[in-house]
């Protein structure tokens, strides 16, 4: 399994292609937080087409991990 580490001083993730399921998916692991998420082709395509505005929202720390509400994921 080829794996790429994409890191900056702000975040560090390992990215690889996962073929264990019935179809291929991208495996993304947050190396600092330990959490893993799989992204299928349709999800990835959607990420490509997200508006900058939506990406900006994703970057808000309160949007996910550090939300006051219980995490939804």
């Amino acid at each position: 399994m080829d794996q790429w580490i994409i890191a900056s001083e702000f975040a560090e993730v390992a990215v690889s292609l996962d073929t264990d399921a019935n179809g291929p998916r991208l495996r993304v692991e947050d190396l600092r937080g330990g959490r893993v998420r799989y992204l299928d082709a349709l999800e990835l395509e959607s990420v490509v087409w997200l508006s900058d505005e939506r990406v900006r929202e994703l970057l808000d720390p309160s949007a996910g991990r550090w939300s006051d509400r219980p995490a939804d994921g």
């Binding site: 900056s8 001083e9 975040a11 900058d52 990406v55 808000d60 720390p61 309160s62 991990r65 550090w66």
Partner: protein, 416 residues
Amino acid sequence: MTVQYSELIQPERVHGSLYTDPSIFAEELERIWYRTWVCVGHVSEVARPGDYVRKNVAAQDVIMTRSADGEVGLLLNRCAHRGNLVCEDRRGNSSSFRCPYHGWTYRNTGELLGYPYNQGYGGKNKLELGLGRVPRVDIYQGFVFASFAAEGPTLKEHLGAAAGELDRLARLSPEGEVELTAGWLRHRAKANWKLLVENETDGYHPQFVHGSVFSVTGSPIGALYSDKSTAVTRDLGGGHSENDLRPEFRRAARPMGWFGTSEARVPDYVAKMRALHGEQAEEILIEGAPHVMVFPNLFIAEISVFTIQPTAVDETVQNVTAVQLKGAPEMNRRLLSQCVGSVGPAGMLLADDSEMYERNQRGMAARRPEWLDIRRGVGRERIDENGFRIGAANDETGMRGFWAHYRGLMEEGAAQ
């Protein structure tokens, strides 16, 4: 007590306290470094959206970024929450910065994107805070300049005649652009920043300080600064000055002679330049690159680019990189190796010069005589055909121009 600069700076001498008095240094930060235009870097250092590099304007830690829409901006490296450094690496690529202290996250334009557990602030988008931005950023020939003053002379006005020297550097590229992509070395000198500036266009010292280098390498540079040389030192106004070696290069009439190389070694480069410039290519290749000090902190010594950063009254960091010419790979390899050999960590020229600035600083701890002399060539200066004051290649004409401008800035609007 207010310093009387008109007493400390006289036409033929300057007072030693200008290099050693911490209160003068503090005033320089306000009146020069945080008011006029200071060179920060070059657009090619942040070529792609999301690229960032850390820079300095004196003690200010600045992040040069390129936003998603291609704009180059300068942010201050200070979290709007509790003042932590937002960014630690010297360079990287990221659309956003996350402060390590409490996770506040900013766009690389400085805009606050959010903060963890936002209910404590009443929810999302409740804070009108962002990273500080350098009020004025302007670019000339790819060189990025910063001014902390919201108003004042434009960059073009500040550069004045020095702009032509940056043009002269850029036109050596077959694509008309310089790139500063070789990475920067940082040298720390225990000396006041003005000693470095003065040394940059001091044509009196090379034969002594660099004599051993010239003799081992057989370099013809020493002769350019002899009394027989037709080269000149020019006060370009605005505190800028240059050693104009073109008269000697023209006399020798050798393309690439300024670079100590010949056409045979860089044939593709010369061919490209001829294709682009036609007959004028000969002139460009013979005249070569400038040797210019752009007030207060950009120094171009033909093949190397320096930025000077004062960190204390007696300490200065000098950042240096090799000139790289867009579209000229043959030249770039040579430019890099020559630059490393002269001003790299084991470079001979920079080691020589550093020793001199530091000895100067140490010497000035002695209290007598109080003055430093800058009169060399006063009696033989003349005005050239463009109205600039010039002296012999080894005269102190550039220093006198520097001090006249310095004095104007330090006295301007000063409390009486």
